[in-house]
């Protein structure tokens, strides 16, 4: 299958008053055409920064470096800003977490949709408008024609997120990055938006990076996933592999936090992971999960953890063997 995005050893550093924040550390993953890859983790684990680094939209002063960052065979680390702007919104689109504030309040929906294609294609405004109407209908917005004249504040959050999705699709991108697209929405709308994204992705054969903290969302939509913790990938594999057989203590902890119908008994307490995510500022040594890990040993503070590949595309980051991880987890 054709690879759309290839990321190898991506680092993102942000200088803060408290010191250098190593927001993303040595993250590698790839996305194939028509495939959904999910980046999973708690707030502040670096998943959004990873996405922004790919789009080259990092906050001012944020620095990225990578061994490989290639999109459709082009090296994104080498191309200049204007070439990157040609790719953004054109071949690679992004949908953000906050639909309420992600649209410009001063312009109509139509203007903002049309703008996306007028920037990249030589089309007339009439053609741009037709495309906008077509996509608004595609994302399930009724009376699309009249919506074009509306302003963002006249639409609900769910509708605005649909508009954002339509906007991302204006140029027919080969990769969509959805950064927590449903977090700010009502639960009932969440499912609609997710299935919409999934069906559009199938239809247009796009690669999709789905960033989320919701494992339920991942299990329903992702082909593969990478669990991130404190700026690093701690476990990766196909959705099936990771859900059926989680290895890393953090992944196991996350899985324990969700109720499973039929398995979780009424009144039974759900799992939780004690402690907080450490902030990756300054010099970092050892395993970043050691302070919350039930299987931690003195070695964890001294030895650098590496991502250990146990089969192609299946890897975890721990000093223990997968078997030892399982034994330790069951004991704890």
């Amino acid at each position: 299958m054709k690879s759309v995005l290839e990321v190898k050893s991506l680092y993102v550093d942000l200088p803060l008053p408290a010191g250098m924040l190593h927001a993303v550390r040595n993250v590698s993953f790839h996305v194939n055409q028509g495939e959904t890859v999910s980046l999973v983790g708690e707030s502040g684990c670096g998943k959004s920064m990873t996405a922004l680094a790919v789009m080259n939209l990092l906050p001012r002063k944020g620095v990225r470096r990578a061994e490989v960052l290639s999109f459709e065979g082009r090296d994104l680390m080498k191309i200049d800003d204007s070439k990157m702007a040609d790719i953004r919104g054109n071949k690679m689109a992004m949908i953000f977490q906050e639909p309420m504030t992600s649209l410009d309040p001063c312009y109509t929906i139509g203007n903002q949709l049309e703008e996306a294609i007028l920037q990249h294609r030589k089309v007339s405004t009439a053609e741009a408008r037709d495309r906008a109407v077509f996509l608004l209908e595609k994302v399930g917005i009724t009376a699309a024609e009249s919506r074009l004249k509306q302003y963002p504040h006249q639409l609900s959050g769910g509708l605005r997120q649909r508009v954002m999705i339509a906007m991302g699709l204006m140029c027919g991108p080969s990769l969509i990055i959805a950064d927590e697209p449903t977090t700010a929405l009502d639960v009932t709308i969440q499912a609609q938006i997710l299935s919409l994204l999934a069906s559009l992705q199938q239809e247009f054969e796009m690669g999709l990076i789905l960033i989320t903290h919701d494992l339920g969302v991942v299990s329903r939509t992702a082909d593969r996933l990478a669990v991130m913790y404190c700026g690093e990938v701690v476990e990766t594999g196909t959705t099936e592999e990771v859900f059926d057989n989680p290895i890393h203590p953090y992944t196991r902890g996350l899985m324990d936090c969700i109720p499973v119908p039929g398995k979780t008994k009424p009144g039974e307490k759900l799992g939780s992971i004690p402690g907080m995510v450490p902030t990756p500022i300054g010099e970092l040594t050892g395993c970043s999960f050691r302070n919350r890990c039930p299987s931690a040993s003195p070695d964890c503070a001294r030895t650098e953890t590496r991502l250990i590949e146990i089969s192609p595309g299946r890897a975890y980051r721990c000093l223990l063997s997968p078997e030892a991880c399982a034994v330790e987890w069951n004991r704890a």
Partner: protein, 305 residues
């Protein structure tokens, strides 16, 4: 939009009535107008005569209604000093003041908005520091003093510009700078902080994610949002500038209504002072209304329900 405009119009009318009552009362509070008009050596019969002639013996409410009724027809009575209708005296001079006010506003906006935008896209750099220093100076420096310094440097030492009068465009340059500088700090700071806020907002990130070029992001999306409060301020600021022109016109001897007001206060020429106070207040009320309407025009969240 129409309902909104009518509401604002209603409010403006209420404010205008209140302001007219206050300006009417202010003059009465500054002392017995009959004594003021009669002069220092007047006898009590003369004062009494003037009181009856000008109707100061009637109840205040009647005096106000009579005055307001005539003011509505642009009749502010006759100036005892000029022996001429007040309306004509003001009409001869208001052009100078409006010219000065509008030019100052244009000058202030033309300087402060680019400066605010520059400062906001390069925050905490030397550009930002210079812009902030200029605005702090503008806030700290009294405009009459700045005017005097300009007269000394540009007029007397360098002999570049005329220092008084209204004969040519060159005569307006120094007054415009002096009065306009007064408006720069507020515009500059509002533009800068507005731009900083908008530039870090989600919809700017969306605009950049669409692949829009920096110029388009900056001017179409960022400045458009940041400018809304600045435009509102500009209308109100023009009102302040017309008020501030009382000082500047005196410094540069421009024969506008500001200078007239200053002179008339000295001459106790009450009808003139009263008419100018009322006129400036009404212009201010009208500008506030205008600013509300422009605001609604610029911001669809107000305009479209």
């Amino acid at each position: 939009m129409i309902v909104y405009t009518l509401k604002r119009l209603g409010l403006a009318a209420l404010v205008a009535i209140t302001v007219s009552i206050i300006s009417f009362m202010l003059i009465r509070l500054s002392g017995d107008p009959a004594i003021a008009l009669a002069g220092e050596n007047a006898t009590s019969e003369q004062i009494e005569f003037i009181r009856i002639q000008y109707g100061f013996d009637r109840p205040l409410v009647i005096q106000y209604l009579d005055w307001a009724h005539r003011a509505l027809q642009a009749d502010f009575g006759e100036s005892p000093y000029f022996q001429q209708p007040v309306t004509r005296i003001i009409g001869d001079r208001i052009g100078v003041t409006l010219k000065l006010g509008v030019m100052s506003l244009i000058f202030a906006v033309a300087v402060s908005i680019p400066m605010g935008v520059l400062a906001s896209i390069r925050p905490n750099t030397w550009i930002d520091r210079i812009a902030l220093s200029i605005s702090v100076m503008g806030q700290a420096m009294p405009s009459f003093w700045f005017g005097l310094i300009m007269i000394i440097v540009l007029g007397v030492w360098l002999r570049l510009l005329p220092i008084s009068g209204t004969d040519s465009f060159a005569h307006y340059i120094m007054p415009t700078i002096a009065l306009g500088y007064y408006g720069i700090p507020a515009f500059m700071r509002l533009t800068r902080s507005g731009m900083l806020e908008v530039l870090s907002s989600d919809h700017i990130r969306t605009a950049r994610a669409k692949g829009l070029r920096w110029g388009k992001v900056l001017f179409k999306h960022a400045l458009r949002n940041a400018i809304i409060p600045v435009v509102a301020l500009a209308a109100v600021q023009l009102g302040f500038m017309l008020g501030g022109s009382i000082v500047i016109e005196s410094v540069f001897a421009l024969h506008g209504i500001g200078y007239l007001a200053w002179e008339s206060i000295g001459r106790r020429d009450l009808p003139v002072v009263q008419a100018i106070v009322l006129l400036l207040s009404m212009i201010f009320v009208a500008l506030t209304l205008l600013s509300d309407i422009i605001n609604a025009f610029l911001d669809p969240r107000i305009r479209v329900k």
